[in-house]
Symmetry: none
Subunit: 417 residues, 2 copies
């Protein structure tokens, strides 16, 4: 079955809020084998809403509306739907009782706007909204289904999970879709596509491949579609095994894992600790590591040594090395990584020193030049990278590259890029 999501509300069109609802809804529908073929955002305007519904009905079986159900004067969805179906708005006793309970609990006095929220188009099936005052509405429109929900994300999640998804799942028993995500680090998209060309060309026709790039990391998504779940799972597993043989050292994780999570789990599992000496990344690696709950179990902390004075006085980098080779050099980054590991007394350490830009570049060391080092009890390994011109992106790429180097070091994979 095919679905369209229509979000209603000016706040999305003026860029005031980022629409997170429809990504969540789309993902949930996918998991029960329903394809979202289109998403549309329109303003709180009757004509626009009706045009969008009519268009959606021409391509989709299920149309999910979010937004425009609030008690204020700028919300029109319910009135529009009543007009669309040429029916009256009638007060629903169950809904009124629920609203009255919610309001008296939270605010005290029921006003006319609250009472009006209990009115629904005469032809709809009410979807209970246990966490809010605006009811959801389900319309059986010949062979189409139209569902209207409020725009508040946690109300959407509640109504979808308890009522709408189970109902839709019962209606959609004919198709299955399975996804598998493979995380890769260290090879740019065009090069990766080249390396994977023959594998990609030989994918079974049930499987679709997508590249999802982000700074420092590329995700590959395999999607298998059909009607036999076990068969599709086998197909996916087979292709995962194959790609592991093509790019064994480039794969750094699977599914929704983050690189900082993968590294964290490795440290946790092996009972090892980590410290970081950051120059060009300025605290970015530390905040990635500490964004993971429970990271205090393996992360002792770091020294952000943004000035040479701190590199010398706190990390014990020799002044002569900075004078001779510069702060962005193999010598200095290796002294940094050794220094932090000794001072913080950890099993592993990371150090970065580079030119993030926009200023500070030279012909010999252009903006983007970055040294990254990893240390453990067996010694130090350091690599030089040349990233791009963009400060924010250089910092993100250096940080993810450093985490991937550490991941390889822990896993005993050779670090050669």
């Amino acid at each position: 079955m095919k679905a369209e999501i229509i979000t209603i509300g000016d706040e999305i069109l003026i860029g005031q809020i980022i629409d997170t609802n429809s990504a969540w809804i789309a993902n949930e529908l996918n998991l029960i084998g329903i394809d979202v073929v289109r998403k549309t955002s329109v303003s709180d305007n009757k004509d626009e809403i009706i045009k969008a519904i009519d268009y959606a009905k021409s391509t989709s079986d299920i149309i999910l509306l979010t937004g425009g159900l609030g008690p204020t004067n700028d919300d029109y969805t319910k009135e529009t739907l009543a007009e669309y179906y040429k029916v009256e708005l009638i007060e629903n006793a169950e809904v009124l009782k629920h609203i009255s309970q919610l309001i008296t609990k939270n605010v005290g006095v029921l006003n006319q706007r609250n009472i009006d929220q209990a009115k629904v188009p005469a032809n709809c099936i009410v979807i209970h909204n246990s966490v809010g005052t605006a009811p959801g509405m389900w319309f059986n429109d010949r062979n189409k289904i139209i569902i209207s929900m409020p725009g508040v994300p946690f109300e959407v999640k509640e109504m979808m999970t308890t009522t709408i998804l189970p109902k839709l799942k019962n209606l959609n028993t004919d198709s299955v879709i399975i996804h598998k995500i493979i995380l890769t680090q260290g090879i740019p998209e065009s090069r990766l596509a080249e390396v994977l060309e023959s594998w990609e060309n030989n994918l079974p026709r049930e499987i679709k491949l997508a590249y999802l790039p982000s700074p420092g990391l590329i995700k590959l998504r395999l999607s298998a579609r059909g009607n036999n779940k076990a068969y599709l799972q086998d197909l996916i597993d087979e292709q995962v095994t194959k790609i592991q043989q093509v790019i064994p050292d480039t794969i750094c994780g699977y599914d929704s894992e983050l690189l900082e999570e993968i590294v964290g789990n490795l440290l946790l599992k092996t009972g090892k600790t980590l410290s970081i000496a950051e120059s060009c990344t300025g605290g970015y690696i530390s905040q990635l590591i500490t964004s993971i709950p429970g990271s205090s179990a393996y992360f002792k902390g770091s020294i952000v040594a943004y000035s040479n004075e701190i590199k010398e006085n706190i990390l014990n980098v020799s002044k002569s090395n900075i004078d001779i080779y510069g702060a962005v050099s193999k010598q200095v980054v290796e002294e940094m990584v050794t220094g932090i590991r000794r001072i913080y007394n950890t099993d592993y350490s990371i150090a970065t020193s580079g030119i993030s830009g926009p200023a500070g570049g030279s012909i010999e060391k252009p903006v983007g030049t970055t040294w990254i080092a990893i240390a453990d009890k067996n010694g130090v390994i350091s690599m030089k990278y040349t990233f791009g011109d963009h400060r924010g992106r250089n910092i993100a790429r250096a940080s993810l590259t450093a985490l991937n180097m550490l991941q390889k070091r822990i896993n005993g994979i050779k670090i050669d890029f």
Copy 2:
């Protein structure tokens, strides 16, 4: 002028990624007086893309496409546009030169996929993409404009800012829209709305107010629309003067300023230096400070003291204070802030110690409890905050609150929340 944004890509329709591009684009178009009347997301499919363009042309003057320009086989936008206009894809020498420079710098070898990225429909005007390999394309289609961009957010921002927005602004001279953004910190949205109620109710009808909340910071956007720029500017200035009298200590900046930029400029102007001791914020404040180009002029660095061992051994926090009061306490955060200022020898210092969650809370100190301290030559000030339950938001709120405390300290404003 009216615009529609069409995002192209399966990853949005399956809910793999949240579309942040179109909110950003919509906001930027609004700033130059262009209304986004509709947003549509379609899959990487020729028919769907063409149907969406045709529909958009029936209501909008400008159609902005994002996505589907990658070098891999799942991207079709460029081919679709060539087919739509019945023109050939031809190699653009300038684009090829740019791609070749980018690739040889980062990877080394130019492959066929890279070369193919330099091909564009014969009838388009190329939009330079200084930060990526996929060129943007501008089509003059009778009285409509169709613009195609890659889907990568920082590439969209770069191309929009340097080329597309200035060009569109020149074309849209009949209506004027002026925005003024006021940054506030320290008061939650519902409380702020209450404090500002009478001011808001007395806004002239030309001015619209929007609340743009983000973790730790609320932006108020005043938008004045009309055809007399000088008159609108006067109206806005008058309201800014008024709101400054209502919430003088809550306003921390204006327009597109970031709090880390405001603090950086203050330090630069006064020739002062900064160091940070981070516990619960785990490097987040440091990465905010170092995200600003030129921050090495005032930022010496920090110590992320995630474990108590580091607090004691490196920051010289007394073990007895940690034992008696706990790491999340006035005593410890004040020792941290004094320690880092002395060790790093800076004019100002910041320290944080809190419980970000989800674990680590207690009845006495629930998740979200955070101590923040500022030190300078006149002494130390520390404040206790109770943020929420969400780890990521707690870290962001603590970081922005710390930067705002520093800003107030430098400006001689009393820190009382």
